[in-house]
Symmetry: C3
């Protein structure tokens, strides 16, 4: 990015045509409501015309044909995506210098690529490898045998237990835990509980992002798998031996019990939970707070506890509001017919 | 506090009149059930008379007119609050000496007030400021540009990402994460996902408390705001660009999606969740495990998923228990009338 | 374990009779689906016959009388438990050498048993004691007065606040927080909130396991208690002054409000929540996502929000799907009888 970029510079960077004064100096980037006269903003479609006309933004990214007044504009067929690129151009991710901080503790035999960055107070066990340009922020702990690909960012406080394996360009947000023991006990034959040893791994694909405080347990014998491009939000629980496909979206505070299979492209919204050994089919959408007790078919949308397809949950919950009226009406009918209305009490039915 | 405080000393400290033997030596403070004859306890009102008479407590804080036997008593119009003050008087918060632990890593240019305390293995990036008397316990990580006011307590393992800003007297419990990236992706035009850059901040007011393991995401462009005197419990998720007002109470494991607005004085009980871009009005009470799909009006009380006002949720759930009885009764009526009762099967309706 | 163990070695270790070729060299252990011809697997009963015949496993642990083809077999009356023991024999827990890592910070007066292991960047406050053979992995913080028994494993990033007390053989998974302040505020008489001081402890029995990121708050005055052999999964919230009995199972993301009593042997499934001051009786089973508003009787099984006993929740949710059909039928009856069907609208009932 040049020191004082103008709209022409950004247009060239994004490969977008400029309309109007390309020498407009861009001071910053902001949403329509917050942007000032020196800022660049964006508009997705004509539907935002009212918000657009009320905005003080000095320049815009907008689709062809959307009127933006006399402001200079970059024309884009995907203004949201191009604005994201503009934001990243203006505020690039902090560059972290390569090297190992002197307070980090690196076991003998760990393989740290010279272009990687290991932050203060990291603790790295034997047989660990960290790939090119990967960054560990402060206080990251890698247990024995952990393998980190290239261009990963592991934020402060993350803990990766034995043999956890990350692909390339994986981002782990602060205090995430990968590879803790799965939760499994057996009766020990004497009235107590025996822990089932958890000796599998967590294996994470490329371009995966995992949120703050999220916990992904290691497999019991085999591995817990997180597919390429899957994005997991904060405070999510993924049990042992789950198999999460590619480009799956899992929103905050979701809980997946052991051996859940989530196929490619599925979306699981916040606070939903799945009992163990279920399959959530490809492209399925699981609504927020849903409680899954059986499989979800590919491409379907479920909601509620127990899960219902399509709009069933809302329709049924709306119908619920009519039960008391029904009770009154049935009583009236029974009276008319001289029938005994006595059995409408709960507990007697 | 004097070395062997008596009831007169405590009465003077709290500004409360003593009834009975003011020279009573207070050994400790405890609830009615656990207090021994050398302990001080408290009673809120006459309603606790039975528990009071069964208590072995040697002295009490009690409202005027509440009979406590022949025990010495401090008379208070708010015994709960005055007892809290007594507890704090007996067990003051641990004093942490000012200074920077030699194992802490402080970047050049960070501004640490000389009266602040920086614990072992903290990592503090450039352009950070820590105000007077603020305490960082062990292993706290502050990313670049973080600003901490005066008299804050940041417990062990907390991570504050770029430019997070705290007011005065803020308490963060262990392993809380402020300023992780919000969860936002766009189609990248080629079938994959493009991350929406998250470059805003988390800005926290004065006298805020945030629980263990709680995650508050930074804004996408603007800021995520937590107002003065707001209290947030453990393992709560606050999405990007939420605006939480003043003196809001958010109980454990609540999840607020992005851009939720919570107005002053609202209370959100445990495990409730809110879909994005909703407003929870001032003073509203959101019941536990509620699933919010639309705004909550100021001053109202909602419960359930989908949310229902007042007692609607409980009334509807009670009515649900009567549906099977209704089915039987309607069938009986239909028989009497010679009508076809065949259409009562689920799936056929 | 001998260097190249055979089935006879394992049989001797487990005390199980060998059938077939006891010189079979065991390369590894795996589930039926993943095992190769050099691996040992197990089968619980005849019901797995089909999976067994399709398995490539070279040797098995199986109950007496279950046919395993011509493969060598260890006969066991509890194959799951004996297979677990075999796994642990093959992959023993990593031995951690005794001693204090030079980067750990140990306050004067802390009592660390010479056989204990204190990892890199641990921070240990005054008056702490750590018992024989207990292991603290990297970055564990123990506040003043913490007491750890023998043979405990405290994983990386755990924080134990003041005076937290662990029995023997306790396992804490990464980033668990014990002893954070409970969540309690009082009106301060001036429109604000006064924090109720939290000065009690967390006291944990023997053989307890606590999951990654789980938060257990200290008592307000008394203690929060976790009984012997209780197992708590990841991201669970246990409020102040809870009393959890012995051998209780608490699955991921459960939230227990303050002063909940959970009696021995109860099981609380994932994402369930309990309002404060409730008792969950001995041996009770609380279903996933249940919302408890009242006590749960010993030995019962509840599910739903609000909780319902036995199969009530499922029966009622199934009945809900029939309400719309009922509405139609009642309307037809009313028409037949010439009654006014106008009052079936929600909001008018």
């Amino acid at each position: 990015m040049p020191e004082s970029p103008c709209l022409n510079d950004l247009g060239a960077h994004l490969g977008l045509p400029v309309e109007g004064d390309g020498s407009f100096a861009i001071a910053g980037v902001a949403g329509l409501e917050c942007a000032g006269p020196a800022d660049l903003s964006f508009v997705r479609s004509r539907r935002y015309a009212a918000r657009l006309s009320g905005s003080r933004a000095g320049a815009l990214i907008a689709p062809p044909g959307v009127h933006v007044g006399d402001r200079p504009v970059l024309r884009s067929h995907d203004p949201g995506l191009d604005f994201s690129r503009a934001v990243r151009w203006f505020q690039p991710e902090a560059l972290v210098p390569a090297g190992i901080h002197p307070t980090a503790v690196i076991a003998e035999g760990a393989q740290i690529d010279p272009s990687a960055s290991i932050g203060a107070h990291c603790a790295i066990a034997p047989a660990v490898s960290v790939g090119p340009r990967s960054v560990l922020y402060a206080g990251v702990t890698l247990y024995e045998g952990v393998s980190i690909g290239s261009d990963c960012r592991i934020h402060a406080g993350c803990v990766l237990r034995e043999a956890t394996t990350l692909g390339d360009r994986v981002v782990l947000h602060p205090n995430a835990v990968l590879g803790a023991d799965g939760f499994a006990y057996l009766g020990d034959g004497g009235g107590g509980l025996a822990k089932v040893p958890q000796v599998g791994r967590v294996v994470v694909g490329d371009d995966v992002e995992i949120g703050a405080g999220t916990a992904i347990d290691r497999g019991t014998l085999g591995d817990t798998l997180i597919g390429h491009r899957t994005k997991i939000d904060n405070l999510v629980q993924v049990g042992h031996n789950c198999t999460i496909g590619e480009q799956v979206i899992i929103v905050a505070q979701v809980g997946l019990s052991g051996s859940t299979i989530v196929e490619d492209g599925a979306v699981i919204l916040g606070q939903a939970g799945a009992a163990g050994h279920l399959t959530i089919g490809a492209g399925a959408i699981v609504g927020p707070q849903s409680g899954l007790h059986k499989d979800v078919a590919a491409g379907t949308r479920v909601l509620g506890n127990p899960q219902q397809e399509g709009r069933g949950f809302y329709r049924n919950m709306a119908a619920l509001g009519r039960v008391r009226g029904l009770l009154r009406r049935v009583r009236a009918i029974e009276r008319r017919l001289g029938m005994n209305a006595g059995d409408d009490e709960p507990g007697r039915s």
